[in-house]
Subunit: 378 residues, 2 copies
Amino acid sequence: MQAVGMIAEFNPFHSGHAFALAKARNLTHADVVVVVMSGNYVQRGEPAIFDKWVRAEAALTHGADIVIELPVTGAVQAADQFAQAGVSALAALHVSALAFGTEHPELDYLDLARQLVATDITDPGFADYTQTYATQLNAAYAKVAGITQTDPNFMLGLSYAKAVLALQVPMQLYPFGRQGVGHDDQKIKANLASASAVRQHLREGEPVTGIVPADLISVYAEQPQYGWSQFFPWLKYRLQTADLAELRQVATMAEGLEYRFTQQIDGAHDMTEFLHRVKSKRYTYARLRRLALAITLNMTTAAVTKARHLPQLHVLGFTPTGRQYLRTVKHHLAYPLLTRVSADMLAPYGVLAMTHRADRLITAIGGVEQNYGRPPLM
Amino acid sequence: MQAVGMIAEFNPFHSGHAFALAKARNLTHADVVVVVMSGNYVQRGEPAIFDKWVRAEAALTHGADIVIELPVTGAVQAADQFAQAGVSALAALHVSALAFGTEHPELDYLDLARQLVATDITDPGFADYTQTYATQLNAAYAKVAGITQTDPNFMLGLSYAKAVLALQVPMQLYPFGRQGVGHDDQKIKANLASASAVRQHLREGEPVTGIVPADLISVYAEQPQYGWSQFFPWLKYRLQTADLAELRQVATMAEGLEYRFTQQIDGAHDMTEFLHRVKSKRYTYARLRRLALAITLNMTTAAVTKARHLPQLHVLGFTPTGRQYLRTVKHHLAYPLLTRVSADMLAPYGVLAMTHRADRLITAIGGVEQNYGRPPLM
């Protein structure tokens, strides 16, 4: 069976995602579409608006055949680490084609990545404290490979290509335009509202008709929503009581931010206010938000390292076609395939300990168990 | 000037406390009554119902001349450690008389303590896992010194005596009956409702007329109240996200309780329910509540050790007589006398870092700054 992979967040799943899944299938003539999807926390540093099961189900009923969880240790990371976690999961599942939407489908991403790798500036640790890391990275890219684009999906595509090179996995890239082509351009474009706009509509209780597949509208209306408004009190408490040494153990902590965070938290009443207080020229909002989330989840460097050394493929669901594919590959997988989560895995030293730690907060808010004993969606 | 000391919590200050302060003064013919009072957290493992400034002010207007804060690292401890923290603060202030109410004022506490120390059973580390530490201690006391009393104030008096011996400080003990004597027995007895009963009345909005000095009734009515209902969500969050290794660093943690606590928290909706779930024959409710509070405050063994090595005398307030006394002793004090708290002291490595950590939560709830820049009450 021919498989194509996608790395996604579906936060939440909307019409543009359905279009992308169909595009990936058509472009590669694949029999099966395998998605590695962020679990309950996403790359921009916040809980996904709906839990991972709701989002996986939406994907499975709109074009995906298999949904595998991208664990929090891989999802709440800068683009390069996020991409590596996704690519390595797909490769472990013997998927050798990766499709992704981008503003620039005409470029050769692997070739660009090779130029960057050859000049060794993929992770330069820039020392200019007056600019964000992203700004400096873009400048270096422009210098080395003539890359002057900074569109987010283009940058993510480049991260996928770099991950393929770094991991040395056989993976062909299939970039595609994010807008539709042909006669119904207009209509599809209208449907391609960003996930961010969909979230805003949902949070404010406004209708999402036309931008979300019709059958999902009533599903979304009934689901508990998650966001920083619920997590901020925990962040505040944690910053007020944590030891500096403990904060330094949190993944993605950078020198000095532990002081800045603990000093600025007292007067902040919500996440927006807090981020404004800690913002500097050196760090983007996304970077700071991810760090704040890592603190709230107590996602330590040790937990991230452990997850990298003991990768798991937690199956959230599959279609009959997806099941068939899993049967063909399941005996020669690089990582364990988890179809039912046991108490052992969730225990403090279990392989899913960090996922459990993070997901307990989702359960505490929404009352829905996220791991223990939950079978894959079929 | 002749000084008498008391170690107290005033949670909250009531008529019985006014009686005790007067009794201490009369019994010792003291010019000045020095109180070492628990700060915002008390020995039974919870926040005091009113903050330390409200309670200090009540004491200063009803018989105390000086109120010094017993820091959280000394207050939220078993009786022996609580007593040591209090006795050492009084001794540092050159107070050599300690008065305390007890069910058995006729006994010689120092003599009893000497018998216990001589037989080396003051901290026996009992190995019977089917009984609480307190029960086993009482049995040992009965065997060694014929002590069959287990009344709480008697036991605390014994802890004071043991602290005096352990610290080798010159301190005379003045036990007195907790009930009044003479013709107005009846009336005083009626006024001696326990602090626990007063708290219950206050929490339920019931009148405290007659059991609290009349002028305090309106004061109490206007103050924010603190309790486990506000702290429980923090405990729950912390237990759901803490690393076991982090929990093991919490002061008074005992082998195995970190598992029990993290396992039992998910289904608990309030502190009472949680305590029922974790209760065993081995530990008293007070012991478990203190541990839960230490976890919530992130009061680590390191923080307690540091506080013991760098003791401070934080002055919450004084009367003119109290001020006169402080003037006579301030140049030869064993510990620093803090009359105004600076930002340095509250900083992460400052001498009041743990106090600040704990008190930030009080400020987060009640909106009243507890340390920075607050002068002593006069």
